[in-house]
Amino acid sequence: MDEKVPRSKIIETEIPMGTVHPAALEPYRVRLFVEDEIVQEAEITIGVNHRGIERIMEGLPVEKANSLTEKICGICSNAHIWNSCRTAEMGLGIEIPERALYIRIIMGELERLHSHFLYLAHGCEVLAHETFSMRVFYLREIVMELLAMIGGNRVQYGCSVLGGVRPRCDLDESKLLRLKEDMDKVEEGLTDFANRFTSDSIVMSRISGIGVLPQKQALKLAVTGPTLRATGVARDLRTTMFEYDNFDFNVVTQPDGDVKSNLLIRALESFESIKIIRQAIVNIPEGKVVNRDWEMFDTGINESYIEVPRGTLYHSYALESGRVRHSIIRTPSMSNIGAMQYACIGDQITDAQLSIVQCDPCFTCSDRTIEIIRR
């Protein structure tokens, strides 16, 4: 299976956890094979929250299907509807107004901030450090309120539509001013948190060298997103997305691939997101936010990849009489599951959930198949 543990090793005890566990935000089963509290192997199984969204999308009008994709994830809902719209827009050749692109980026980066903050808070919660967890949640609250200001909801904003963004999500001067002021607050709070967190020697001793995922193994398992970048690989799809052409940002990496690297990279990426949002506030052009001047026609399979908070998100479908056919959605957690299983190995049971959490799982989004067991 890997270099850490030979496959032939005799496993003495199995400790199954889940599908319900307070350290896990989502339902999944993990079988830990342990010897004297040290994890020798791990096996993660998902599939208890399958909703069949791709199946439901089949035959739906593309606008409705796009709205439905937002329901895949409560954390990166905007990313799904954005990428779903993007898939059709690329297939139909729809030109997006530049102002709409900026608003999509602002929403995308705000979503990245709230996802990363949730990750940091959850990581601290699993560490049983409630004080740090609470402090990050307070920061996240500012971001959630900004998302509600723009999209009208704290989740499920319904911002992107074919051809741009909904007019209600347009940003006037007062909204841009609040956005600017709140970015200052978030940056100040995040800097304070990062300083306190990294200077806490007890916390550092708990997270350094835990859940190590070597770079070679990460590439072999096709890991994506910050979990890959935490192993030292500078791969971020935003550098290839045309929407980000006018933005200056750094692709952050960390060297070790452990829990510490994963936590730090989310904090550092949050600073980059703040930088991107500030550039968008300053440079957002005037003009319309949605292009309704386009025609529907049948297309082959259209594909779109974007970088979402957890990694690479893939959407594809064909269009037939304005309806969706052969929809496939691949979320980043699907490829990161292997990393989660690997990261647990060699650590104590207490660290196993932390090693899984460090890969930022979103299993409910990843449930794509279901096996019905007939008894």
């Binding site: 400790i15 956890m17 509290e37 560490l127």
Partner: protein, 332 residues
């Protein structure tokens, strides 16, 4: 005359226990409301909620069927724990000093060991639905290992509790025996009398070091963060307490608060020389010590993640060495 003295003593002990018990019900609320919540900049619960309102609520809840191979024993363990804590408190009262077998450090240590053994039994006897019993098809085609011995997560708690008995609670017992080196006796009456004559043991070098060790041991035996490895939320969740519901859960909550107070009272007796009794204003010292310990524990736990064996072992080793140092200094 003898009968009057006996009745007065019994009444004094009952009164002391009642006062201590009432104060102890406020301690968990004080910890959560005024320390954890303040540090975390949130409102927190009502002060009486964790120690009084929650147990009352649980008393009147319908009990769920406990999943345990020996349900009777499992259900009786919180009550045994409460009785043990009660016995320790009675042993600390001056009225108990006429019974040397009860009012001695050996008896106190023995009672505390029973408390610890109860955790082992609780962990071993709890078989909750959170792991093996969860109806999930693990051994399906493609599963990596098919013939393994499956273990409940509470079993890990039981093993950890056993480890804590063997070495985890070492600092506490080292600190408990440090005053013995100064007083030259294991009887509480002698230790109190020595301190009333020579001043509190706390204000000696040996006593100050032992007090630090005692505080570490206090947090360990209360299973408080960062030493809560037997009920770490990240793996074993509630650990030994997992299956307790309704009135049994209420007893667990009550015992925890009571245990906090009693440990503070042990410190008052051994390090300050003030035993708990309602016949003396000295009981205020006991209350103050209990509150100080709760405040300190709250601050430490709010700023610490849970320790794994990697951090726990060096901490316990360090605290034990300090305990040895305090005993050696006491002997000099």
């Amino acid at each position: 005359m003898f009968e009057n003295t006996l009745i007065n003593s019994i009444l004094a002990v009952i009164g002391t226990v009642l006062v201590c018990f009432l104060i102890s019900t406020l301690l968990p609320g004080i910890e959560r409301k005024y320390i954890h919540a303040r540090i975390q900049q949130r409102i927190g619960p009502v002060v009486m909620a964790p120690g009084i309102m929650a147990p009352i609520k649980f008393m009147f809840k319908e009990n769920v069927e406990i999943s345990s191979p020996v349900p009777g024993l499992y259900k009786s363990l919180p009550i045994i724990c409460f009785i043990v804590v009660l016995c320790v408190l009675i042993a600390l009262t001056p009225q108990a000093y006429q019974f040397p077998a009860l009012a001695s450090l050996v008896a106190v240590v023995g009672f505390l060991k029973v408390e610890e053994i109860c955790y082992v039994l609780m962990g071993a006897l709890s078989k909750s639905v959170m792991s093996v019993r969860m109806p999930f098809p693990d051994q399906v085609k493609g599963a990596a290992h098919l013939k393994t011995t499956k273990s409940f997560i509470e079993d890990i708690s039981a093993k950890r509790s056993l480890r804590m008995i063997t070495y985890g609670s070492f600092p506490l017992y080292m600190a408990l025996f440090a005053p013995v080196t100064a007083a030259g006796s294991i009887f509480l009456s002698d230790i109190v009398a020595y301190q009333q004559a020579n001043g509190p043991f706390l204000f000696t070098v040996s006593g100050a070091i032992a007090a630090i060790v005692f505080f570490i041991g206090y947090m360990i035996i209360l299973n408080e963060y960062p030493f809560s490895i037997i009920k770490a939320k990240s793996d074993v969740i509630e650990g030994p307490y997992m299956e307790y519901a309704a009135k049994y859960r209420a007893v667990v909550y009550i015992t925890r608060g009571f245990f906090m107070f009693v440990l503070g009272a042990i410190f008052s007796v051994l390090f300050i020389g003030v035993p708990p009794t309602i016949l003396s204003w000295g009981i205020l010292v006991n209350i103050a010590v209990a509150l100080i310990f709760v405040f300190m524990m709250g601050i430490f736990s709010a700023f610490s993640p849970v320790f794994t064996n990697r951090q726990l072992l060096p901490t316990i080793l360090g605290a034990t060495l300090l305990g040895i140092l305090s005993i050696v200094l006491g002997l000099l």
